[in-house]
């Protein structure tokens, strides 16, 4: 059952990639043509997986179009493997002057073909454009496939899905720890909403009342969390060393969804102290919060990217849309999306793409949005609903 499900996801990702391919107009659409005409691949399954995942990753990156004609960049080399081991040699040349931009060889276990492809995709992108990629990122998502709400982890292309929790309960709001190794989430598995961290049996927060929205700080020392222990849901920072609590807000209303700034000096979060939920920024030392969102009847689910920009979900004209805000310049832009509801946006590590949930006709799937120009792409869909994606750093 699980194997079929994962295979289904891989298939889906492949078809999504086909839809994304565009006709090459050299230099016209700003994409860099990249050719595999001089790259030889073995017929073993590891090699085939490596090549197809690599090409799909490059197309999905937004910077490349894999093509055999008029390419500006040539990938030269070979990949071969057997049941246990594989070997790949990858060089990247500029077609115009045969300048070598990258040359590496790899020999991982054959079952790591997908992982290697993601790594090579990010390395090629970095060598050619100098920009960070997202191909190696993981997605933590909540899925309803079993009839309960469990935590799952996928590769960002929607492949390699794994069910993480088997609690027969409710999982809300997963967030990665800054080292990308663990996930904090809210679960009712012990009856009351507690915050848990993968790999730890004991909850990381289980005060009386509400414990939710747990997110570990960039330096790993503390956790932002929403608690109602003082009689109302408020934003706190809990030291992960001493367990000591620092209360940041005092509003008599609802606070939710904290997310750290990349430098760990600020938190962005939701508060409805004015009567409607809006996005606020507060210093990690407390003080007066500053409101970021100005319009929309509902502004929720902020995520602060390493690029310094904050994405959040805003109800505009009766639909949930994704907003990108620059907290320094105080500018805000609503991304172009169709009639569906787009919620819970989070930045991919490339600082260009946003992963979010898309809900249409009461079914939810995970989508990739491009903040520059490409159309949305489905990443995880089918076999129940999928929502609340969190992208690993």
């Amino acid at each position: 059952m699980r194997r079929n499900f994962i295979a289904g996801c891989a298939l889906f990702a492949a078809s999504a990639t086909l839809a994304q391919q565009v006709v090459v107009r050299k230099g016209g659409d700003g994409k860099i043509g990249i050719s595999f005409a001089q790259f030889r691949s073995g017929s073993d399954s590891a090699s085939q997986t490596f090549l197809s995942v690599l090409k799909a990753d490059l197309n999905r990156s937004g910077y490349f179009t894999v093509t055999s004609q008029g390419a500006e960049i040539a990938v030269v080399g070979q990949v071969a493997g057997n049941a246990s081991q594989m070997k790949a040699e990858v060089s990247v040349y500029k077609a115009s002057n045969r300048q070598r931009m990258m040359g590496k060889s790899y020999s991982p276990a054959a079952n790591l073909a997908r992982k290697l492809a993601h790594q090579v995709a990010d390395e090629i992108l970095l060598a050619v454009t100098g920009k960070p990629g997202m191909a190696q990122a993981k997605l933590a998502v909540v899925g309803t496939r079993t009839g309960r709400k469990e935590l799952y982890v996928f590769d960002i292309d929607g492949g390699n899905g794994q069910q993480i929790t088997k609690d027969n309960s409710i999982v809300v709001g997963p967030k990665w720890t800054p080292d990308g190794k663990n996930i904090t989430y809210t679960s009712h598995k012990a009856g009351y909403p507690n915050v848990y961290m993968t790999g730890q049996g004991r909850p990381v927060s289980n005060y009386k009342g509400l414990n939710s929205g747990g997110m570990v700080s960039p330096d790993g020392s503390s956790m932002a969390v929403i608690l109602s222990r003082d009689g109302n849901p408020e934003l706190y920072i809990k030291s992960l060393r001493s367990g000591q609590l620092q209360r940041l807000t005092r509003t008599k209303k609802v606070e939710a969804s904290p997310c750290w700034s990349p430098d760990g000096n600020y938190l962005v979060y939701v508060s409805d102290e004015t009567g409607r939920p809006h996005i606020y920024i507060i210093s990690r030392n407390g003080g007066t919060p500053k409101r970021l969102s100005s319009s929309g009847t509902e502004n929720v689910a902020p995520d602060w990217g390493k690029n310094g920009l904050i994405t959040y979900c805003s109800r505009v004209g009766g639909k949930y849309r994704v907003v990108v805000a620059d907290p320094r310049a105080r500018t805000q832009r609503v991304l172009d999306t169709d009639w569906a509801d787009y919620e819970d946006p989070c930045w991919a590590p490339d600082g260009r793409h946003i992963v979010c949930s898309r809900t249409a006709s009461y079914r939810s799937a995970i989508y990739l949005l491009d903040t520059l120009k490409d159309s949305p792409v489905a990443l995880i869909s089918g076999s129940g609903d999928w929502y609340s994606p969190a992208c690993s750093p």
Partner: protein
Amino acid sequence: MTKKFMKWFLFIAMAGSLVMMSGCRSKNKNNVDMYGSSGMIGDPLIGDVPLDGGFNDGLPMDGDRSLFPPVYFAYDSSQVNPEEAGKVEQVAQHLKKGKGQGVIIEGHTDERGSREYNLALGERRALAVRDFLISLGVNPSAIQTKSLGEEMPENMGHDEAAWRSNRRAVFAIY
């Protein structure tokens, strides 16, 4: 300007703005504004009553939900409406007569909006009912709150009627 002078200046400025803020608040109290008229249950101006310390290990996890009907809420509101107040009074009577050890108030929202925000809003609703029970003389330590956000709808529909019946606080008596 010396540092000391700056400090005093800031202090006076802050005190001034506090006076202005409280002025606005008392004005609001006399109006029928978005929170309803003054003195409403769940009024955000009523002080918070801290949950009685510590962790939730060993708290009762379940109770009898069939004894009392749920309290229903308006959209995005955590205020107990006057027409729902009688339900809370019945629960208070029951507990004060010693017919139950205590109550778990389960706060729920409708499906619209962010799940994390709804989890906090469900807790706020449960706490508003808790504040009301406490004001009626129920011992705070006999009241537990548990938010389920939008995760456990009573009605699986996607229309106004479904949403109305899902915005609720349920009494589980233990």
